[in-house]
């Protein structure tokens, strides 16, 4: 997967250098307002960010965010479903104007596209019912924690947890969730969108956040050299944060309030 993603990035960078040469002078925000359409790359199979609801329409945090930005610019929204591999090439080749697809920031991506301010929290952490008092990794002593074997959370947790913590490793995400829900483990170590998905099902044992292992919030992806569009998106995000809209999206889709330090 790593090599493949790497390959995608290189390909994307190559394509970008070809297309951006011709588009560098064009002001995308100007094009959007003229055409009256904002084109956004969104996920379609990634709850709770973007997924098809019972009414066959796309819904989720990213979908609401896309709708909000289109509405604030005052144009129609046109959503393009993308995967995590092809979303950056879609932006670079000008097929979409923005990526709103739970996109995290990293140096490799920052070389080829620009990022807005963060619009959604995303983190991995330890979760468990309210009755269990855990605030730091040291509190895990003597507790049992379910985690999916070999993933990022497993590696981080194994380093942090005291020796007396029982880390129960399962083969896949579903078994990890089942182990926690059925009470086979006291706590679960996973990411915030997995627990949001669990919470949406009204489980018998609710995974509430105990502490954060690693935070990597989501950003809107914008092509390079689009200061007007970037500024507009940032203004919309800042306003949404100030008026509680982001908090509402968090409550709806991530089943938790917007973190205080966001």
């Amino acid at each position: 997967m790593t090599t493949r993603r790497h390959f995608t990035t290189i390909m994307a960078a190559g394509v970008a250098s070809l297309t951006l040469a011709g588009r560098a002078l064009a002001d995308t925000l100007d094009d959007i307002t003229k055409s009256g359409v904002l084109r956004v790359a969104v996920p379609q199979d990634l709850p709770p960010w973007g997924f098809v609801g019972p009414d066959m329409n796309l819904q989720g945090y990213d979908i609401d965010m896309a709708k909000l930005i289109a509405a604030k610019i005052g144009v129609k929204l046109q959503m393009t479903p993308v995967t995590s591999e092809n979303r950056i090439p879609y932006l670079q080749t000008g097929k979409v104007d923005l990526i709103i697809s739970s996109l995290g920031k990293n140096p490799a991506r920052a070389k080829v596209i620009d990022f807005s301010d963060k619009y959604a929290p995303f983190f991995s952490g330890v979760f468990g019912p309210a009755t269990i008092d855990v605030k730091t990794a040291a509190d895990l002593a003597g507790k049992s924690i379910a985690v999916t074997r070999g993933n990022i959370e497993d590696i981080a947790l194994s380093k942090l947890a005291p020796p007396s913590a029982q880390i129960m490793r399962y083969g896949d995400n579903q078994s990890t969730i089942s182990a926690f829900i059925s009470g086979q483990t006291q706590l679960i170590c996973t990411d915030s969108s997995t627990t949001a998905t669990i919470m949406a099902q009204n489980p018998p044992r609710a995974p509430l956040l105990k502490f954060i292992l690693q935070s990597s919030p989501c950003y809107v992806g914008v092509n390079k050299n689009q200061p007007a569009l970037l500024a507009k998106v940032n203004a919309i995000i800042a306003a949404a944060k100030a008026d509680g809209t982001l908090n509402k999206y968090c409550e709806t889709w991530l089943k938790q309030p917007l973190p205080a330090d966001f």
């Binding site: 379910a146 074997r149 070999g150 497993d154 590696i155 129960m168 490793r169 399962y170 083969g171 078994s175 089942s178 182990a179 059925s182 009470g183 086979q184």
Partner: protein, 223 residues
């Protein structure tokens, strides 16, 4: 092929592997001992000629032999807590193995019991042996001697099947292999070593069981 084999990268995990072997052996020991006991009772019930004994055992045997082991294991581990019975991963695994071996073993034991010639039972009766004595010396012991190799094979299958228990976080040999490869990214080396360990364990287990059979059934006429 550009892959550089590096068994040195996983050699540091040998204490984990020993631990994995110990857990696999523990599962197999308890699973086998209790499983064979269930199998003998089940085989007896199925040949007893009493419907109220035969029917529930038949349902049990068919239920277990026609569903996958991993589903039985998940049901016990993830499902039973909903009914208030919460077993830890090792206990759940042993229970699943006992239930599984019990069902397959019932059919093997039944085959042995049914192969007892009627004339031998009559001979025992005419010698004045009591009913329990007839069952023990004339029916059961020769039957077990007869089916012992088949039962040994089934025990080896159950031992190898315990690899599935890694899915519910039992730290047996397969779990150790998955753990090592998730940390060292040396999948070939990890699984190669564990494959070899399973092979040695299975061959040793079969030989041990056959030797135990020779000892247990010394002087028992199998045919």
């Amino acid at each position: 092929m550009t892959y550089q084999f590096d068994f040195g990268a996983i050699i540091g995990y040998w204490p984990m592997m020993l631990h994995g072997i110990a857990i696999t052996a523990e599962l197999t020991l308890f699973g086998t001992a209790l499983g064979i006991a269930v199998a003998v009772l089940g085989g007896w019930a199925r040949t007893s000629g009493k419907l109220w004994l035969n029917l529930p055992v038949t349902v049990y045997v068919e239920l277990i032999r026609n569903t996958p082991f991993i589903v039985q294991l998940f049901f016990i581990f993830f499902g039973l807590p909903a009914l208030g019975l919460r077993l830890d991963a090792v206990d759940a695994s042993i229970l699943a193995m006992v239930v599984n071996l019990g069902a397959y073993g019932t059919e093997i034991v039944r085959a042995g019991l049914m192969a007892t010639p009627r004339g031998q039972v009559e001979a025992g009766a005419s010698l004045g042996l009591s009913k329990p004595q007839i069952f023990w010396y004339i029916v059961l012991a020769p039957s077990l001697a007869r089916i012992w190799p088949a039962l040994a094979s089934q025990v080896v299958i159950v031992m190898l099947g315990s690899s599935v228990c890694s899915q519910i976080s039992v730290q047996e040999l397969t779990y150790v292999a998955s753990y090592i490869q998730s940390r060292s990214f040396r999948a070939f080396e990890a699984y190669f070593v564990v494959t070899a360990l399973y092979l040695v364990l299975a061959l040793a287990l079969r030989q041990a069981l056959l030797a135990a059979g020779r000892h247990l059934f010394k002087g028992v006429q199998a045919r």
